[in-house]
Symmetry: C2
């Protein structure tokens, strides 16, 4: 998907909500466990109930890998279902991959070509030749970790390199990569005091912002500092939406939670 | 596997060779493609031919993920085969994962518990709470990226933080993590001039060294600067061994190449 389509969907839906599909067999409603593929059954129900309220879905790879072959089958089914029924929705493989050239290309093919994801999260530590193989795919997007929402972010990301932080170096260096127009960045909602400076350094790129809700980030502040003329934000919520109810009404309740966030977002569009 | 077993296997075999299973359907001998599961057939043949010459195998996750469900099945079969037939071999999931706490725990369970890997490579960018969930597993090992063998390593890893490099900060900070005795580090063989200083900072930890062979690293120099009293090195070779021949003799030729490296290593034990 190209950025224009994403921006136009955001404006049409008045939402820049991304729903994280962190599907956990121990947390989904018990009655779904009777399904042949409960992971897919849960995802399908959530997607069917929420697809008009959000613009993106973000399956977290760890949750699928934890179930081995069964998990990968459920992931592939989810992606096929999304791409066939809701092709206008932006999809994010939350994989945080990062490896040298020929290996990075394999990961890119796995997620972009084989599974049809629009984007993937990538770790910057290995540098240029671990990121550019992803950037080479037309109309696909590479979402580089910049400043993450967890406490461990302070171990390295906010370390001082001369007059600036490591995560700012990541922004500046990555802007020089070939096809850097295909870059987006992960910026945690728990770090709103940094978002203004990040926006100054990367005025045109989308920011994927996790941590609103369960991790305590503040939607208003994220918008205040992070919005650009193309909106430029995808705000993710996972547990706060998909696990809002464990009952038969789980999908309906997820839609209510998504609607609440969407209504907040609509005020900023 | 605990470190004592690994060290004793290294001494018994006079080898600290790790063989990378970067299994690519376009590079394996054509006659194997007739097999029901050519990836597993290739891995099994390589393992059967080389298991006395090396102490570790390192499947690179990207190569398996690239084939989707088929790839994961082949990976699971390979791990079952290894753990049943050669339980004394150390296994490394070259996955370079890294994510926040609950997600990291899922990755750890997927690779350590479900697939029975002894270790996994992990990226440090997200810090403490992305690494400690892996370290919590007894007799499992977390191999943190420190200084990688690719050119992109110079983008961030060798950036100056005051009087030292970022990768040195990774070594120092990670030493303070809970269960840091379960840490190993990835150090590229193409960067031998740095290995002495790395060894000084982490005198007791194993270093996983890729880049000997195809990437041009020098075995002699790696040993000169990297060996410790427990050997403390795992030197990886992938393509130089497993793709040494495309013919019917591929496994035998792989064994010859492994033997050559083993014979060089034996001089240093």
């Amino acid at each position: 998907m190209n950025i224009k389509t994403l921006v136009s969907e955001i404006r049409r839906k008045k939402s820049f909500l991304c729903i994280g599909l962190d599907t956990d067999l121990e947390k989904i409603p018990k009655h779904l466990l009777e399904n042949e593929d409960p992971i897919f059954a849960f995802n399908k129900a959530i997607i069917d109930a929420t697809h008009e309220l959000c613009v993106a879905y973000k399956p977290n790879m760890a949750f699928y890998e934890a179930y081995g072959v069964k998990g990968w089958k459920a992931l592939e089914k989810t992606m096929t279902y999304l791409n066939q029924n809701y092709p206008q929705l932006f999809t994010i493989a939350d994989a945080k991959r990062g490896d040298i050239g020929n290996t990075a290309t394999r990961y890119a093919k796995a997620f972009f070509d084989n599974m049809g994801f629009d984007s993937i999260t990538v770790a910057p530590y290995m540098g240029k030749d671990s990121v550019e193989p992803f950037l080479a795919f037309k109309d696909k997007h590479t979402i580089l970790l910049a400043l993450t929402s967890n406490t461990g972010a302070f171990d390295f990301q906010t370390k001082q390199l001369g007059d600036h932080f490591l995560y700012e170096e990541v922004l500046e260096i990555s802007k020089t990569y070939t096809n850097s127009e295909n870059l987006m960045y992960v910026v945690g909602a728990t770090k709103t005091e940094y978002i203004g400076e990040i926006r100054r350094r990367v005025p045109h790129n989308f920011l994927l912002v996790p941590g609103v809700g369960a991790q305590g980030g503040n939607l208003h502040d994220v918008c205040k500092y992070g919005l650009n003329s193309d909106i430029g934000l995808l705000i993710n919520s996972s547990r706060g939406i998909i696990y809002a109810s464990e009952g038969l009404d789980f999908a309906q309740t997820a839609a209510q939670k998504a609607q609440e966030l969407r209504d907040e977002m609509a005020k900023h569009i």
